[in-house]
Structure formats: C-alpha cells, structure tokens
C-alpha cells in the first residue's frame, strides 16, 4: 500500500548522518576526536545555493522537524506546522536543514552514543556543549552539504538563541534570522527552573552518577519529574484553565466518594513526564539545560547587547508570545531594541495567545500568516 500524506506535508523523510573525522574542540576545551550529526533535509538546494534555511531545535527537539518517518508514524515532525510546500517555510522553494544538536540523544554524538576510547556509552562524560559549539558544528554540516551561506537561520526558544548566536559568530553566513520566544540570556528564574529539573534527575537513585546506561538502570522518575516542571513552565495559567479547569479524571467531589482524586491536569502532566522519561536521555537533559544556563549573548561586552548584535549582517524577525512567562515578551523586546539601536532591519510582533511558551509550536492563524509573509523575503525571489 502506498502511504498518503497531506498535500502540504514534506511526506516521507529519512534522517541522514554526517561523519566528521577532524577533532572538534568545545568552548570549554574538551575535544571530540571525531563525531557525527544526524539531520534531515526538505526541499532541494538550488544551483546558486542561495535557498538554504537552517532550523534550530529547542531543548527537547530533534532533527525531525517535518514530515513522517513512516506511514505509521502517529505525529509528524515537531514543526510540521511551519515547514512544507506552501507553508510559511516553503519547501517548494527553500532547502530546509534541521540537525540534532551535538550532545543530544537522537543520533548525533552525545551521552547515549559510544565513546570510541572506552567502547562504552559516554554517559556523564560527554563534553558540556554551549550554544557557540552547536553553531560551529552546524557550520561544519553546512560545508558538508555544499552550503556557503544560510538564506535564513530560524529557531524558537533555545533554537532562537542559537539562531541569534549564528548571526554574530558568522555574520556573513546568515541572510535572515528568525528568533521566536527567545531571550538574549537566561535570568535567575530561568536558571532556577533548570536547576530544579537537574536536581530531580541527579537525585534519582537510578541516575548512577550519569552512568545508568552501563549500569543498566534508567533515572526515569527523575526525568519525568524534570519534564513535568519544564512542561508546566511552557504553558500559561489561562491556557491550563481553559484546557483542564478543575476537571477530575478519577474520583468525584461527592461527600461519600472516597476514591483517589486525579485531576485532569495531574493526569496530563504525569503522562507527559512518563512518556518523555523513556524517550529522552537524562544526561542530555542535564547538558541541554546547562547550555541554556550558560547562554548570555551580551557576556562582558562593552556597550551591551546592541554592541554585540552590531556585528550581525542579517535581517531579523523577532516574535514573542503574549502569555509566555518562560521567556516573556519583555526578553524579545530587549533583543528588538538592541537590534534597532544597532541599526539592524527588524520586524517585531507579540503574538496574542494563551499557549504560553509553547505558542511558537502551536497553530495560530495570525502567527502563521505573519511568518509566511515575512519569509517571502528569504531566498531567491
């Protein structure tokens, strides 16, 4: 039977692997003698090579941004909403690349892959990547694919931060930059939430100092709890009230009901946590949250964020989501104002939504239309 996919889907996609045999040195000095990146591409690279677009994934994302791995796959890639023929990131005219970040757990070299020098999984010994490391490794991938400049680098949340980093690390490589629900750096509150997530994982008895794969255990409870806390911060209070209210999934409110009460929201969070705990590597979660914590575009640069972004040569689309309290609109406005102070072309929108931080991943006509109209300026006309 031939699989049928929606006409605006990129359809069946197959992940590919790029191997790099030269040593890769991390910001912190650690070295990988060789490494690999798993990635997907959608659309065709044109002969001029000026239609390539890089998608950067967020904390728990992967290289599977669009389409289906098989006819049976229940859900398409994580940003299928935006990527496909006729969609905002139009694969009919753009060549779209999405790679799994170095240190992640979906096929790129990371804690759950084999350390060639020991023959065992890296576990907690995998080097701590930073956003700059991901940018450099993605540049290696671009060169591997014969790309010499991105028409656009696009991402949401951590992916948006990565997109911004691209514009200042390799200014002449980035024509356009889309930073959604991003921030120029993490606040104390952001770091605190990440620390709670890490603490949940590190205090799980099955954590085994990060060596759970060689010990044959899995810190599933810790990862589930970390995910529950994280997931909570991606939703808004109004959105949760609309979706779950005070509905019970089990038990009742009558006086003679002695059942265990389970609210819908509890059931939902438990489900999210438990599903994630078997799919996502605990060490990766620790590394990714740490990379987030360490992200600070301004750093110690004199002149602040505007002086840093002055290096960029890209045109920018910055968008925030009205009910996002993980990286609230104010953080995007900081980016916007710095870009304007640096004299960079920028469009800014604050998308009205109850979807919180997750707003950048979820359907919203106004958001999708804005992205689509803005993307028309990307790539050959």
């Amino acid at each position: 039977m031939t699989a049928t996919f929606p006409t605006d889907s990129v359809g069946l996609v197959t992940p590919q692997v790029a191997h790099f045999d030269d040593p890769f040195t991390f910001v912190n000095g650690a070295v990988l003698q060789n490494h690999q990146l798993v990635y997907e591409t959608y659309g065709e690279l044109n002969s001029a090579g000026d239609n390539a677009v890089l998608i950067c994934h967020a904390l728990s994302g992967s290289h599977h941004a669009a389409g289906f791995h098989s006819a049976n796959e229940r859900r398409p890639g994580w940003w299928d909403l935006a990527i496909g023929p006729g969609k905002p990131i139009d694969t009919a005219r753009l060549f779209v690349v999405c790679s799994n970040n170095l240190g992640c757990c979906d096929g790129s070299s990371g804690p759950n892959t084999i350390n060639p020098s020991t023959g065992e999984a890296w576990g907690g010994r995998f080097p701590q990547p930073q956003v700059q490391d991901w940018v450099r490794s993605q540049k290696l991938l671009a060169e591997h694919l014969g790309i010499s400049k991105w028409a656009a680098v696009i991402g949401g949340s951590l992916g948006g931060m990565q997109a911004l980093q691209w514009t200042i690390d390799f200014p002449d490589w980035v024509g356009h930059c889309v930073a959604l629900a991003a921030a120029p750096g993490l606040t104390a509150q952001n770091i605190a939430f990440n620390e709670i997530a890490r603490h949940a994982i590190l205090s799980d008895p099955d954590w085994c100092e990060g060596a759970y794969l060689s010990e044959g255990t899995l810190p599933a409870r810790g990862v589930a709890l970390a995910r529950m806390v994280g997931h909570l911060t991606y939703m808004s209070a109004d959105g949760m009230s609309d979706r779950f209210g005070r509905e019970l999934r089990e038990g009742g409110f009558s006086p003679d009901d002695n059942a265990e009460w389970v609210f819908q929201v509890e059931s939902y969070l438990r489900h999210q946590g438990s599903r994630f705990s078997t799919q996502f590597d605990a060490n990766t979660y620790v590394l990714m949250t740490r990379a987030l914590d360490l992200f600070d575009l301004t750093g110690t640069q004199d002149g602040g964020l505007a002086a840093v972004l002055a290096r960029a040569q890209a045109e920018f689309l910055v968008a925030s989501f009205s009910s996002d309290w993980r990286f609230p609109p104010q953080r995007s406005i900081e980016i916007r104002d710095a870009l304007m102070a640096a004299g960079k072309p920028v469009t800014y929108a604050n998308i009205e939504t109850d979807n919180g931080h997750d707003g950048f991943l979820l359907p919203n006509p106004s958001y999708e239309q804005l992205l689509k109209e803005w993307m028309r300026r990307v790539g050959p006309s």
Binding site: M340, A341, V346, T347, Y348, L370, E373, R377
Partner: protein, 207 residues
C-alpha cells in the same frame, strides 16, 4: 491605530508629505496601518522605512509589502527608539487618537531630525456650526463615530496645535492645509476656519 487613520490618509494630499521626505531618508511611520504609505515612500523616494502599529492584521499587511514593522503601542512612549535614529518621523491622522499627544510629539522630534504630523482640524467651520447650532458633538463622513465610542479622544484645532508646539519648544518648519476644492484659498488664508486637515513639518527648536 484605528482603521480610520489609513483611509483619511488617502484623502490627504499625499504628495505634500512625499515631497517633504527627502530621497534616501530613514523614515519611521507611526500608526503605519497596512504600510501602503511606507511602501510608496520606499518606491518613490527610496526611503528606508520602519512602521509602528499595534494591530496584528496591519502588521501582516505591512510585512507582506516587504516592510519592517514594530508591533508597539505609541502610547507607551516609543522608548524603544533611539534618539536621532531617523531622518523623518511621520504621524498621519493619529495624533487625536493618542492618550498623551504632547508626549508623542516630544518623542517624535527627539527620535527624528524632523517630524511630519497631520490631523483633522476641529476648528473647521462645519465642526463649529455643528457644535454651535446643533449643540452636539460633530459627526461627519470623516468622523462617523459618536463621542463615546470614537477613537479620536484628543481633537484640536490648527491654533491649538501651533500653541502646543510653541509651549513644547518645537519649531514649525512648514504647514500645509487640506480644504475642499471651493475652500482652497480660504483654507490657506484662514486655516483654523476652513482647513479640514492640517499637515506640519516640525523639529526640535534650535535643532
């Protein structure tokens, strides 16, 4: 801004405003609506334009014309814009909708070397007649809303505006008036009575 701004702007002498914007200027259009005016400035004057609008539909329309737009409430004070970043700041038929028109005017002449402001003249004889003889707030084709649901919360006259500029130490470089065909000359001679709209080029005194 209210959709009214855009439609009124079309009826203004657009050529006046276009002529006042030098070639290759950096222009900030406050309440840019669907971006039609900015697109003309770009296409006819080679201007580098940035729009400001609060309405998501306007934002999308302007972006679709290839323009850069900032979603922002002008009433928040425009503090996102750096001093002297623009050659010209335009506020077309939106002054009367602002919570604090005087603050906006001051910000405009700080952000831009020059500002262009247009507004409907409430001192026009028809407005006066409406108020004087009917004893009711004026309503017309250009001002179709009742006093309680109009976005126009700060109407002023030509005289009021010029007096405010003087108080704010803002120089008026040039004034143009819009009046009906039969009132063209009268509009120029007695603008406060015969101009339906007025357009001003202003700048910070001593600027």
């Amino acid at each position: 801004m209210d959709a009214q701004g855009g439609s009124l702007m079309n009826r203004l002498d657009l050529k006046t405003v276009l002529d006042w914007v030098p070639e290759d200027s950096r222009v900030l259009d406050l309440g840019c609506g669907d971006g039609a005016f900015l697109a003309r400035l770009r296409d006819e004057r080679n201007a580098i334009g940035v729009g400001v609008d609060i309405d998501p539909a306007n934002l999308i329309a302007a972006v679709s014309k290839g323009l850069d737009v900032i979603q922002e409430d002008i009433n928040d004070g425009l503090y996102c814009f750096t001093t002297n970043r623009f050659d010209v700041v335009v506020l077309a038929h939106a002054l009367q909708e602002l919570t604090h028109p005087h603050i906006a005017l001051e910000r405009m002449v700080d952000i831009g070397d020059e500002a262009i402001v247009s507004f409907p003249n409430f001192g026009h004889w028809l407005c006066r007649a409406h108020l004087g003889f009917k004893g009711r707030m004026p309503m017309s084709r250009a001002m179709p809303r009742h006093w309680y649901n109009t976005p126009n919360i700060h109407f002023c006259t030509v005289k009021d505006f010029e007096s405010l500029c003087s108080d704010l130490k803002i120089d008026i470089i040039e004034r143009a008036t819009i009046a009906g065909a039969a009132q063209g000359l009268l509009g120029r001679w007695f603008p406060n009575l015969f101009a339906t709209s007025a357009i001003y080029r202003i700048r910070r005194a001593g600027g």
